[in-house]
Symmetry: C2
Subunit: 234 residues, 2 copies
């Protein structure tokens, strides 16, 4: 290709590859690239969109473009909760509770096989790696499983709280992951532009006796992880 925007893409990709620009580095502004590379600003933006789609850079709304952090390795077969998992890779996980409420949840009725009037504990949290927010989640827990759950400090591992304080542990996870785009709340909470590519993870956790322990929606930044696992053939 001899496209202008691909030329700029390649130039920036190389500067990232050789670590002239490391994770977290702010790229030159669009107008500076526009004058340095002598192409229209719209063309500069095409190059940046390309790099964003590849997961090499991301944008903070109206702040600038930045080199993406090193992704964590997401191994669904070894998943042991965010806090454990991230720490095992030598990174620093943090959690911030955004809200905790008890309310009806239209899309949970089908999952829990309950009446539409049923109220649930709903917890919204933001989780970060090395101080960089990577996902927000909405967790739905049936109050019968964990009465008074919301009184606890939930900036820690929920898995841990449920096990220690309620004697409930997870025996099985049902997980679905699909590409999405991060909009409104999700984008705002993660500090990225609405429409940024993301990944939606829907997780239903069951206890050994088949009860639903939690029903979870997670919205991840797409550049935050790669999926990797090792698997014996059955």
């Amino acid at each position: 290709m001899t496209n202008h925007y691909m030329a700029l893409r390649d130039s920036l990709a190389r500067r990232i590859a050789v670590k002239e620009m490391v994770p977290g580095t702010k790229l030159p502004s669009e107008r500076i690239l526009h004058s340095e590379y002598d192409m229209a600003r719209g063309t500069v933006r095409e190059a940046l969109f390309q790099l964003e789609a590849e997961g090499l850079i991301y944008r903070r709304d109206r702040s600038g473009w930045y080199v993406s952090q090193t992704p964590i390795i997401y191994d669904p077969t070894r998943w042991a909760g965010f806090m454990t998992y991230v720490a095992e890779q030598g990174r620093v996980p943090t959690t911030k509770t955004l809200s905790k409420t008890t309310e009806t949840v239209p899309d949970a009725a089908g999952v829990f096989d309950s009446s539409p009037d049923q109220s649930f504990h709903v917890i919204r949290r933001r989780r970060a790696i090395d101080g960089h927010p990577v996902l927000i989640e909405r967790i739905v827990v049936h109050p019968d499983i964990a009465p008074g759950l919301l009184a606890h400090d939930l900036d820690q591992s929920l898995t841990q709280v449920l096990k220690t304080d309620y004697g409930v542990s997870v025996a099985r996870n049902q997980v679905t992951m699909r590409p999405c785009s991060l909009v409104r709340d999700e984008a705002a909470a993660l500090g990225v532009k609405p429409g940024t590519p993301g990944f939606m993870v829907e997780r239903t956790s069951f206890s050994a006796d088949g009860k639903i322990v939690e029903y979870d929606h997670e919205y991840w930044r797409r550049d935050a992880f790669v999926i990797s696992f090792d698997l014996s053939v059955v």
Copy 2:
């Protein structure tokens, strides 16, 4: 949001959701949308890019925009080869061999722990679901494992050929998946625009005695699948 392009996005997304436009339907051309919705063509394209990132539509280079096919469910824990797997979901898998050669493969030397001069069997194939190409792959096999492999018909399950004709079966897979963008060969073979979002899957298959059976790179269309699995906690 009251953005023009988000309004158009929402309008088109709704028409897809209510099945006014079904998978495979060609969208109105950009210029028609431009005049119907009375916004600049660049703004129309922003809406289309948004829908593409969400996996709802895709483009065939210089042909038009189309509603994406229903994704298949990719369950890494049940993976039994493309042909088996797709058929189990009531869809029709096909495979076309693009090339088969014996050559040196720079990036395979590290994986096989062999000399850079080592030649391998290299197979390139394109695989489709219901007639729609969804991935291309490059498979690398050590000739000692399967001498004369390239003489076989490879438009079928390679797993099957290796098992039946060479007595080699896969006991373990090491898999890594990451977002990428489909460029040059990949995009051309899949009939999508270079730069279309994709997923790269790198797979190393081992036999029971720990030998590498195949080393595989797959480039998937990102809208072709969702990942879903059911998993017991260890």
